[in-house]
Subunit: 390 residues, 2 copies
């Protein structure tokens, strides 16, 4: 009856930057040529600039999980004691990787939707003086909650441990002063705020973390930080790089540099705030009300309604692809993303669609209520002098 | 401060169908090969199917104006008397082409926003018994008004004249039963409901119109209907075709066939109706309230406000490219399009943006009012059982 354009609105893969897709058309390039080295060097340089760090930044042809493994397998030794903050599916992934490589993990668990406080990290470090590292998610994508990375860094910086941060959905959605706060290892992924398809992972490594690489003894081959650093210095990657994605990354970094990383963070924060206001205006409950991040907002399905129905109707009624909950949260929450190439037009549509989906499923909805909440956030930010009725 | 994705929302070029863009990547094809003939034949066949006619359908490498000229230069002779309905910028184009080729045009003029009634056409034909043709716009893109093509066809069919219809924005936005109603020449363009970039024009030609080609004596070379028909029968175009656009067209026609041309028309009609409801809910005036078409809705800028400001703020605040008025209507109206690959998500965003732009310019606006009007139209069409409050 009506056109439904498919729109990718998940917290990864995120909406694609069109010029990055166009750039991928130039993939008829050999990776061991000066032509490609020029592209690769520029991408590494721009990535460092966008991340705002003087630390080394490496690129891997892998998903973010590959870089998470790389941090463990390159910087630690069998039996090392580490503190792992686990507040969702991705915290659990740190636990699984630590276990797979034989680390001795002290797990600080938080309920889904909640976070691990800096105080708990401080206590755990005090209780485990030999701890070699602390692992955390800057933004826990499965719940939408965000950790206080800055406060944690202040605590960890006083110890011998290194701070290893899965910032895969944290980059571009929260301030992350890598050098100023002392964030030793920061991991990112291409299909998040970098607005390109999946397939690349990024890692920044502090001098303190590099010293760990000197004594670490865990087995690794594909993910070899020292080798990769040497290759990067020569304008190359150790193994065959994902040339199309490096071209896409180059274009996206041009956009992010021009737009400003701080502005991209502001954009995500503004959209996240507007989404929370819209959810509350529609009488819905937030899943992570106390520590909401800005990468994604998890909203509880109304009592008696499976969130899968909401996710499905977004797709079938409107072509909008949004995320269900993961693991035990599946069916209970749905997630609206904000990281990267999202704008107000996306959100106006998503909230108008949500209102219709609620109405279609027997919830009393006053049309326009959620959208008006989003508009108010826009108006407060951008129209200080506007005439706003109601 | 916030991301603005550029969105093309004009009544041509219209939003592009993504798979058509992808198909253009296969343009490394020579147009005088069996590979390309296969593509071209399929496009011509699908175009006929989508237009729902057994008349010949030709494709030109030109804009729609080229096909308008082709109709004049191939089917008429110097001094031929013709009736031209002129209700806007595109009606004026028929007058200009007729004049350029020395036709004797009787112009039936309507005020911008209004249309020429079938009765006036009937009277003009009676007053000019030797008239050889009647020219009209199915949908007058400059004002958003639509002519009653069906009623006109019934009148013209009883005379010796042929009915020549610029349906460039009519196709896909209104029912057009070419064979059933007796529409002799129907002209379309690629960048409209066909959802691909500009560069192709289409024309269907009835047996009655072909007979006119036998005696017509106006000069033409590039636009040669008889030659083009012969080429088309051989699976080719007379001159070098726009291969990339033919590939794009093929993909778009697959979509339109699968979706259904009748459904595409319904979609435009639904979005147009929702847009009119939203405008009225926001206290705005429609420019063509009596004969609104569904290709585009022209809305008057509020008293004392230049519509150029609205168009500009759509772009600068939100990245949305919408259309200003043309000619003397510039500054007075703005136009929201519905033809082709438009959906409710587009409209939810456009109306929410319009509300904010009005508020930003001192108009009192209750946020969500216009969006709610769109939601109501959706709900009436798609959610008969929904609980709608207010």
């Amino acid at each position: 009856m009506h056109v439904r354009k498919q729109r990718l609105l998940t917290p990864g893969p995120t909406p694609l930057y069109p010029r990055s897709l166009q750039a991928m058309m130039a993939s008829d390039i050999h990776h061991r040529t000066e032509d490609f080295r020029t592209v690769y060097r520029a991408a590494l340089k721009d990535l460092k600039e966008v991340l705002g760090t003087s630390n080394d930044v490496l690129v891997f042809c892998s998903s973010g999980t590959g870089a998470m493994e790389a941090a463990v397998s390159n910087l630690f030794s069998r039996g090392d004691k580490v503190i792992v903050c686990s507040a969702g599916k991705f915290g659990e992934r740190w636990v699984e990787i630590a276990s797979a490589f034989g680390l001795d993990a002290v797990v600080l668990k938080a309920e889904y939707g909640d976070v691990v406080s800096p105080e708990r990290v401080e206590q755990a470090l005090a209780a485990n003086p030999g701890a070699r590292g602390v692992f955390v998610q800057a933004s826990e994508t499965s719940t939408g909650a965000a950790h206080d990375v800055r406060a944690m860094a202040q605590i960890i910086g006083k110890t011998e441990a290194i701070f290893v941060i899965d910032a895969i959905t944290g980059i571009g959605t929260m301030p992350l002063d890598i050098d100023g706060w002392g964030l030793d290892v920061v991991i990112g992924g291409s299909q998040k705020a970098f607005m390109i398809p999946p397939g690349l992972a990024f890692m920044s490594i502090s001098p303190k973390a590099w010293r760990f690489a000197e004594t670490a003894n865990l087995p690794h081959y594909y993910f070899n930080l020292k080798k990769e650093k040497k290759s990067a210095d020569a304008g190359e990657s150790s193994w065959t790089p994902s040339t199309s994605l490096i071209l896409a990354l180059g274009a996206a970094l041009q956009y992010i540099k021009q737009f400003g990383m701080d502005k991209l963070v502001e954009n995500a924060q503004l959209l996240a705030r507007a989404t929370r206001e819209a959810a509350l205006a529609l009488g819905l409950e937030l899943f992570a009300p106390n520590s909401p991040g800005s990468s994604v907002t998890a909203i509880k399905a109304p009592e008696g309604m499976d969130s899968g129905v909401i996710v499905k109707e977004f797709r079938t009624r409107f072509g909008s692809i949004i995320a269900n909950g993961q693991g035990t949260m599946k069916g209970k929450i749905f997630r609206i993303a904000h990281l990267g190439y999202f704008d107000f037009a996306d959100l106006f549509a998503v909230i108008a669609e949500l209102e219709l989906i609620l109405a279609a499923n027997g919830r009393p909805v006053t049309f326009g209520t959620g959208v008006a909440a989003v508009q108010k956030v826009y108006a407060e930010a951008a129209l200080p002098k506007a005439t706003v009725v109601s």
